[in-house]
């Protein structure tokens, strides 16, 4: 870069030829302690290490640069070079991503396989928005977490009929409606109070969210439905930033991405175990839905596949078919 030129002192046998350092910004919404927050920092560190410091990724946690719902646009306009993008907040713009918001398209335990399968089509979709797909993180299996005394365990849609369930996006709202629940929007800052006070009867999302916000303390009745989460959390990089990298540096980015996903998998195993421990420590209950019970839920919301296909267009259908073709 510019400035700070150090006088050469003769002994430079170890130094690389004076390569330009490529500086990049990376925005995400999680805290530095969150499993995904840690993964992104791990990725940045790995890239720096593998590239001998020629790629310097500055990570901005907790929406430090842009809000999550702006992530896709921010990368597109080069406001940030990289961002973690949740499809649930961006699929209103990149409509072909919408199928990833519908729970039940693939087995969340096999997210690495899913990631591998969709990478080409994701790149096809994101190319239109001047960016490229890098890697994804585990969003966990979906759970119901209920604070209504009358519905401790959720076995079938009948158990949540009429309950006020917190939603977080259009497609999750539609899914909950299809299951007979009353979806309701609550802002994140007030979610804890809403559960505590019974403004809502429960929620339905991936368990990491429930863990992060300690929602199991006020809604301790957990039923693991085990569908894919109603969002796909992926990292994308702008075309402009990608082209600044040499071929070799691009390879390094992809290698670091694989390592970051390995790292994330390891983190999530421990993290999941400690989540269920935490639930039990506050006297909560954990029920794991059977395959048959899960099938009933999937059957009930099957109509959404057609709806999302109509919404998300040709590429969206391709994405959806790719995921549905994966073995459960």
């Amino acid at each position: 870069g510019c400035g700070g030129s150090t006088p050469s002192n003769g002994n430079e046998s170890n130094d690389k030829p004076a390569g330009e350092v490529v500086a990049m910004t990376f925005n995400h919404a999680f805290t530095e302690q969150d499993s995904r927050g840690k993964t992104y920092q791990f990725f940045a560190d790995k890239v720096k290490e593998l590239s001998d410091g020629t790629i310097d990724i500055q990570v901005y946690p907790t929406e430090g640069l842009v809000k999550n719902q702006e992530a896709l646009k921010a990368v597109m306009t080069n406001t940030v070079d990289m961002a973690a993008c949740p499809t649930s907040l961006n699929s209103n713009e990149a409509k072909a991503l919408a199928p990833l918001d519908v729970p039940g398209l693939f087995n969340p335990r096999k997210w690495r396989e899913a990631n591998e399968a969709i990478t080409p089509i994701m790149n096809e979709i994101l190319a239109e928005y001047k960016q490229r797909y890098l890697f994804a993180t585990d969003e966990g299996e979906t759970i119901f977490y209920i604070n209504n005394k009358n519905a401790r365990e959720v076995h079938s849609p009948a158990d949540i009929k009429g309950l006020r369930i917190r939603d977080h996006g259009m497609w999750i709202g539609k899914t909950l409606e299809a299951w007979g629940a009353s979806p309701m929007t609550v802002v994140p800052a007030d979610v804890a109070v809403a559960f505590d006070r019974g403004t809502v009867d429960g929620g339905y999302t991936g368990w990491p969210f429930v863990y992060n916000f300690k929602l199991f303390e006020s809604a301790p009745n957990i039923s693991v439905l085990g569908l894919s989460n109603s969002t796909w959390q992926y990292v994308s990089i702008s075309d402009a930033a990608w082209q600044k990298l040499s071929k070799e540096q691009q390879e390094i980015m992809l290698e670091a991405a694989e390592l970051a996903m390995d790292y994330n998998e390891g983190l999530m195993e421990d993290y999941e175990a400690s989540f269920y421990e935490a639930v039990e420590s506050v006297g909560g209950t954990v029920y794991r839905c059977t395959d048959e019970e899960r099938a009933v839920f999937m059957e009930a919301s099957k109509g959404l596949y057609e709806e999302v296909a109509a919404y998300s267009g040709e590429k969206g259908v391709k994405l959806m078919e790719t995921l549905r073709a994966l073995p459960w």
Binding site: G64, K73, A74, T77, T79, V193, A194
Partner: protein
């Protein structure tokens, strides 16, 4: 880092002092900072920052609570309330002064803004007091202080902003403000009783003015029994009750409040065309003022945060601070100084990105911080040179000069400071109610 921070504040003060609208000035400085120190590409953020904030579910409640207060103020329902309370307290010494505090406290529970509370009650209470021989400085200062309850007793735009910036629960902040608000009202009433006892000039019987016919007579003809107070109390209890029990979210409580106020005004047959016109226009004016202050402030905060100033400054403060309480006291002093020049939403927008992470990292309770920071902002509303409560009272009551209002506000600053100290030392006063939720 400190130099840079100092420089930015200096430029900010310069921009604001030449009369730039604060909201757009903050936006301009943020924008200039982005261009000079970051990347001009980031200017595309202006639209997104604004869009995201304007469509946020939390932002929604600001205009709704403004609508609620405007309805009650423009329909005369608020003035009826003051007259009734004054009548009920007739046997107390200084009944009008006490009524102005009680009416302010009640109106605070339907109004989210301090100047609006001061102006609505002050327009009625101050002329009544002056007419009955009260010292004008005493009357104006007291009302200016009473108005600050508007942002302490929920609903409160300051709490909403604090909640938005720091991602603290707005419901809990609202609940935390109730008891401190009542406590400060009590402190002000105590001051009235002591002052009247010790200072005979506070109410000078020889200065009682002859009744002017007209407006006052018309107000006198109205009914002054509980019918004029009860509906407001019911509305307050309904809104806070729905919130406390969790039947509605904070945002929805604003809708209940505003439409509830509308129905109340309709039922009392006070919905004149004039009232409706004033209400619509003032709601627009005040809402846009706050919303654009937020937009501009967020652009400024975006620049600071992307540049890394808050983070580094927080790290620096933690590193050099010998003791968390010293840091806290320094922060409070900074807020009070800023309070001399800026109004609460502006202060929060500028300082909280720096201050909040620092203080929470030092283990201070976020909700309690919300209350003490808000009281510091309250004090700023009655300190010159820029004190919104002082300005609106001067504007609302033609017989007052700014000098009178400012002189009257001086002792009140001390009272509120005493309140701040007490609430700092006894955090339970603020945190108990939200902890029962």
């Amino acid at each position: 880092m400190l130099w840079m921070t100092g420089l930015i504040f200096l430029i900010l003060i310069l921009i604001l002092f030449i009369g730039t609208p604060i909201s757009l000035g903050l936006g301009f400085l943020g924008m200039a900072g982005i261009m000079l120190f970051l990347n001009p590409n980031l200017l595309s953020q202006l639209c997104l920052i604004t869009y995201t904030q304007a469509t946020s579910v939390t932002t929604l409640m600001i205009p709704l609570f403004i609508l609620m207060a405007e309805l009650l103020a423009n329909s005369g329902v608020a003035s009826d309330m003051f007259d009734t309370i004054a009548r009920k307290l007739k046997m107390l010494p200084g009944n009008l002064a006490i009524s102005s505090i009680v009416a302010s406290a009640i109106f605070s529970a339907v109004c989210g803004s301090a100047p609006a509370t001061a102006a609505t009650i002050g327009t009625i209470s101050i002329p009544s007091m002056i007419q009955k021989g009260y010292d004008a400085k005493f009357a104006a200062g007291l009302q200016a202080a009473g108005g600050t309850l508007g942002i302490l007793i929920p609903p409160s735009i300051t709490f909403i902003m604090f909640g938005i910036i720091t991602e603290t629960s707005i419901v809990e902040l609202f609940m935390a403000g109730i008891i401190p608000g009542i406590f400060l009202a009590g402190l002000l009433i105590l001051y009235v009783l002591i002052r009247i006892k010790l200072d005979p000039r506070a109410i000078d019987p020889t200065k009682i003015k002859q009744q002017e016919p007209g407006i006052i007579d018309e107000r006198k003809e109205r009914r002054h029994d509980l019918v004029s107070v009860l509906p407001i109390l019911v509305l307050i209890i309904v809104v806070l009750g729905l919130l406390y029990t969790g039947i509605v979210t904070a945002t929805e409580s604003a809708a209940v409040g505003s439409i509830g106020a509308f129905l109340l005004v309709v039922c009392r047959r006070r919905l004149s065309l004039d009232c409706m016109r004033m209400t619509l226009l003032n709601t627009t004016k005040n809402s846009c003022m706050i919303l654009f202050l937020m937009f501009g402030g967020l652009v400024f905060a975006f620049f600071l945060s992307a540049y890394g100033l808050p983070q580094e400054l927080a790290g620096y403060v933690i590193a050099v601070s010998p003791n968390r309480w010293i840091t806290y006291i320094v922060v409070m002093i900074v807020l009070l100084i800023l309070g001399c020049f800026l109004e609460p939403v502006g202060i929060l927008m500028i300082t909280m990105p720096f201050i909040f992470p620092t203080l929470t990292a030092m283990d201070f309770d976020p909700i309690w911080l919300g209350v003490t920071v808000t009281i510091a902002c309250c004090i700023g509303m009655i300190t010159p040179p820029v004190g919104m409560n002082l300005f609106v009272l001067k504007g609302a009551v033609p017989e007052l000069t700014l000098e009178t209002v400012i002189k009257g506000a001086v002792p009140m600053v001390l009272i509120l400071l005493a309140g701040l100290v007490i609430l700092t030392v006894f955090p339970g006063i603020s945190t108990w109610l939200p902890s029962t939720m």
